[in-house]
């Protein structure tokens, strides 16, 4: 059984380490906040100028001046701080943010990522994605393994306009967990009930299977 979005988020949450500052992108990455393991304290960064994102407000407590990068109303937590957008990207660019988790349209087997534009169709813009991928030391991509047409999003080379080069370190999809290595995607874990042959069939980039490959625990 392939994972659902929440299970992908739950698996990625296992990568969090105590004390990490983490930037979560829009979509599946946002769900990671719901599965932070017990005993692990992380500080979530919102690139519009907040460290320490809290849960959504109780109805009636929404504040138009307090939103996340997805423009959703949020709250703060004990220890939160506000700052301007230049400082926000300053802490990203200087490597203070330990981990970036973001979605993607395509990832190449060398770590290139495309997630900001579909020429002639979607022109929303890159937002902070190019800054994040150019500077973050550790980038995990959370995405579906195939697109709506059933085509692999794990490729030998991105076909869509690039967001950043050789920057992704790990990819988690509904089918498995992959490291990016000089040999291409390296399958570390497969989703419960998903065969390695099926993953091979759905992956267009170079794929190697880790010697100690195992079933994912979610």
């Amino acid at each position: 059984m392939a994972l659902d979005k929440n299970q992908i988020a739950k698996r990625i949450a296992q990568e969090l380490q105590d004390g990490f500052y983490v930037n979560l992108g829009i979509g599946i990455p946002t769900l990671v906040a719901n599965y932070i393991p017990e005993g692990i304290n992380v500080v979530l960064q919102s690139e519009n100028g907040l460290l320490g994102i809290g849960p959504f407000p109780i109805e009636g407590d929404e504040d138009a001046d307090l939103i996340n990068a997805g423009k959703q109303t949020i709250t703060t937590v004990a220890g939160s701080s506000f700052f301007d957008s230049a400082m926000s990207f300053g802490m990203i660019r200087s490597g203070k943010v330990n981990l970036t988790i973001l979605g993607a349209m395509e990832v190449a087997d060398n770590g290139d990522i495309a997630n900001w534009k579909i020429p002639g169709k979607m022109v929303k813009g890159m937002g902070g994605a190019m800054d994040l991928v150019a500077s973050a030391k550790n980038i995990i991509v959370a995405m579906q393994h195939v697109n709506k047409a059933g085509e692999s999003k794990l490729l030998a080379k991105c076909s869509l306009p690039i967001t950043g080069l050789k920057c992704v370190k790990k990819v988690v999809t509904e089918l498995g967990v992959f490291d990016i290595t000089p040999d291409g995607f390296r399958l570390l874990e497969y989703a419960p009930g998903v065969t390695i042959d099926y993953i091979k069939e759905k992956t267009l980039g170079r794929l190697v299977i880790a010697e100690d490959v195992k079933e994912m625990v979610v």
Binding site: I58, E59, T76, F82, D84, S85, G125, M126
Partner: protein, 233 residues
């Protein structure tokens, strides 16, 4: 002492002319200068170049200026949630320069800090890098990006004093102090205008030297784009 206090938005923007290059503060609809945008729409000037992280939504914020076709060129990082914008872009009516959000912020900062350019890794190897000078530092490639040159900056702060010292509230700070620093003429609307001396100097987020005109706005709508709530425990 120069008097920076003006009566209202109309007075504050009176000399903004068609063809001007304008920076606007805000992130999404959070912390946008609502009064000044409405005044620009009423004034009906056009051929504007607008620099702002976002372009509002169809019926609010910069979206109102797009509806009136007042904007010739938009420089932004993210323009989703605006169908009219997308229509004008795809039809070629609107010139659009999409740039990384951190690059946008830092090009504003550079202008306010008197630095002509910055080097950033954002966009290296992408279409953002086309035609730009690059340089290697410590074996990593960086793009040179120029500081912005704005005719007018229009921003919103929470509280300000008669000398233009400003305090921002929560995440409505975002691009506001950066846009303010980058303008040749900087216009600020605040929710509360107080006498100089009423804000503790230690609590000021942006000193008044960057501010030329200030007024207390009215009728703030402060619209929420994505109202998300949790259940009562």
């Amino acid at each position: 002492m120069i008097n920076k206090v003006v009566k209202d938005a109309q007075t504050a923007i009176a000399d903004i002319h068609s063809g001007a290059v304008i920076g606007l503060g805000g992130f999404g609809l959070c912390g946008i200068p609502e009064n000044c945008i409405n005044a620009l729409v009423s004034k009906g000037i056009n051929n504007l170049t607008c620099i702002s992280n976002n372009a509002g939504v169809d019926d609010f914020g910069i979206g109102l200026m797009l509806q009136q076709k007042q904007v010739k060129k938009m420089i932004a990082s993210y323009v989703g949630e605006n169908a009219e914008f997308e229509r004008q872009l795809l039809s070629g009516e609107l010139e659009v320069d999409l740039i990384p959000q951190g690059t946008l912020a830092t090009r504003l900062l550079a202008a306010g800090y008197g630095m002509p350019a910055i080097f950033t890794p954002a966009g290296v190897g992408t279409e953002v890098a086309v035609g730009k000078e690059t340089r290697m530092f410590n074996n990593k490639e960086y793009l040179m990006e120029y500081a912005f040159d704005l005719d007018f900056s229009i921003i919103k702060a929470w509280k300000g004093d008669t000398q233009g010292n400003l305090v921002f509230r929560k995440t409505s700070r975002n691009f506001n102090p950066l846009v303010a620093m980058a303008g040749k003429i900087t216009i600020v609307e605040v929710e509360e205008l107080v006498e100089a001396g009423q804000i503790d100097p230690d609590h000021i987020h942006l000193p008044g030297i960057y501010v030329h005109r200030i007024f207390q706005g009215t009728d703030y709508e402060k619209r929420i784009e994505q109202r998300t709530v949790s259940k009562k425990q």
